[in-house]
């Protein structure tokens, strides 16, 4: 029953986010400088009457509220609008580019988590100060390098540029994971298990991981957002035709309809991932209880 209530609450909050996001999207597009200016209006050969006719022919010139409602309704129906810069439907642009970003993000999330687990798990089971210091130093070093600079360096020296994604996600995941695991390893039941002579592998799998799993699942949801952030830099620097590069080009060209639609979709995607992670985490906690 609790699960159904939780699920309904999540769906409702997602729907509200989409609606509010859609409205804000419309507001930003409507209020942006140069909104609705037709290139015909710049034609010096047209007289005032002709210009007024061009302006009147556009539906966008009605009041702000009506425009925002219509824009939100269009978004809810799945019509993402037309990109000004490419003069193409946004949906088509996204369809072409999402596989590239999805692939990069998969490499980032899987690679980052694999690295984080490889560094954090041994430290949670064995009291190895040097190992923990090396891992903290490595992750700290990577945290201090801008992901775009890392991508640039690896790209210039013909290295594996997709590895940047993993290196960008790893330190952020590692820091949190290490805290969660060390907290779980310090629990009294783990100490009791150690005192009873239970082996480290069994302690890790049966006593530490189950305690840390709900928080790690929540972190998995957040790491999608981290990976997308890194993907923007990697796609721009290494010229991958993905959604991050599309957003960057839209920003440079001030293609606001495309940019705000992208922002809304990214918000929706990250909110959905977080909601999914929350649900899994809640289900797991309920099963354990």
């Amino acid at each position: 029953m609790n699960f159904v209530k939780h699920f309904a609450h999540l769906l409702l909050s997602l729907a509200i986010t989409v609606l509010v996001g859609g409205f804000l999207t419309a507001a930003l597009v409507r209020l942006s400088p140069g909104f609705g200016v037709d290139e015909h209006e710049l034609d010096p050969t047209r007289d005032v009457a002709a210009l007024r006719a061009v302006q009147a022919a556009r539906p966008e010139h009605d009041n702000f509220f009506a425009y925002s409602v219509r824009h939100t309704a269009r978004l809810v129906r799945g019509d993402l609008g037309i990109s000004r810069n490419w003069n193409r439907p946004v949906a088509g642009l996204l369809r072409e580019r999402w596989p590239v970003t999805a692939q990069l993000m998969a490499v980032g999330i899987l690679g980052g988590w694999a690295l984080a687990l490889a560094f954090a798990l041994p430290g949670a089971v064995y009291p190895m100060r040097i190992w923990n210091a090396v891992a903290a130093g490595f992750s700290g070093l990577l945290l201090c390098v801008p992901s775009a600079a890392l991508a640039l360096l690896i790209f210039v020296y013909a290295g594996p540029v997709r590895a940047v994604m993993a290196l960008a996600v790893f330190p952020r995941v590692f820091q949190y994971l290490q805290n969660v695991l060390s907290h779980a390893a310090a629990q009294p039941h783990v100490m009791a298990a150690r005192a009873r002579g239970i082996g480290p592998r069994r302690i890790l799998l049966w006593h530490i991981v189950p305690v840390a799993a709900p928080q790690a699942l929540a972190l998995a949801g957040v790491s999608v957002s981290m990976a997308f952030g890194a993907a923007v830099a990697v796609e721009v620097i290494c010229d991958f035709p993905g959604i991050g590069q599309l957003a960057w080009k839209a920003a440079l060209a001030r293609d606001l309809p495309l940019l705000v639609t992208l922002t809304m979709l990214v918000t929706l995607a990250t909110q959905m991932t977080n909601a999914l992670a929350d649900m899994l985490s809640a289900t797991r906690s309920e099963v354990r209880a």
Binding site: S13, I16, T17, V20, G21, L28, S32, P33, A136, G140, L141, L143, C144, V145, P146, S147, A148, A149, L152, L153, V156, S225, M226, F228, G229, V232, A233, V236, I237, G244, A247, W248, A250, A251, L252, R254, L256, L259, V260, L262, T263, V266, T267, T270, Q271, N274
Partner: protein, 271 residues
Amino acid sequence: MTRWSLRLRKLAWIFLALLFLAALFSDRIAGASYAHQFRDFPGAPMSWRFPLGTDALGRDRLARLLAATRISLLLAPAAALFSTALATLVGGLAGYCGGLLDRIAARAIDLMLSLPWIFLLIAARALLPLNVSPAASLLITFALLGALGWAAPARVIRAGVRDMRSSDFLLQARACGSCGFRLLLRQLAPNLKPVLLAQFWTSIPLFILSEANLALLGLGVSDPLPSWGNLLRELETDLTFNPGIVACLALMLVVLGCFKLLLPSASASLD
């Protein structure tokens, strides 16, 4: 805090103070302005005259690095101060008032935090004019960082205020007749100080990194004003010919490392 971690923190403070002084007097130390072009020496290698060499336009790389350091060390803390103030306002009011205001603030914080930070910056930067003077681009970049970076600190501050709202000392203060702004200023604010300081210190390296990322993507501070991000763009040239290019990355690593050492959580983990 152990003696070792105290020493490291002290070293970090001394290094940052010295660097800040050097950055303040960059023109005297480097002997030239960051924008001055030595037209006979474009792309000069490292030498006694140009310790880090010159860039493709003949500008002294050391002068530019020190000027960029001055910008980062002045404006990143200013942006952090702004975002912490904004976070205190939002998080403090939400936590203190509770109810609908708290729920709206929580939803807004969640929404801001769910967006990838760099993506949010790119989108917001595009809404502002791109063809502005270098000084305006500098102010816009750091003001944007300050204006958008409030969500994470606001969540922590909100939680802190909510905890304090039901605390005994606040109850006693209320019972003694303290209310409104007096309660906020005399009771809540001093107890929130450690949280606010931690959020302020955490924001500085984040903003320095974000500025660098934005500048590397061409949306940060515009030429001829130098910033660490602008200087990092030179990494795409051949480093073997002029290793002075790496100086910016190295300095950035050390400075960010120092800021991380100054964080309260860092001291705890060092212990």
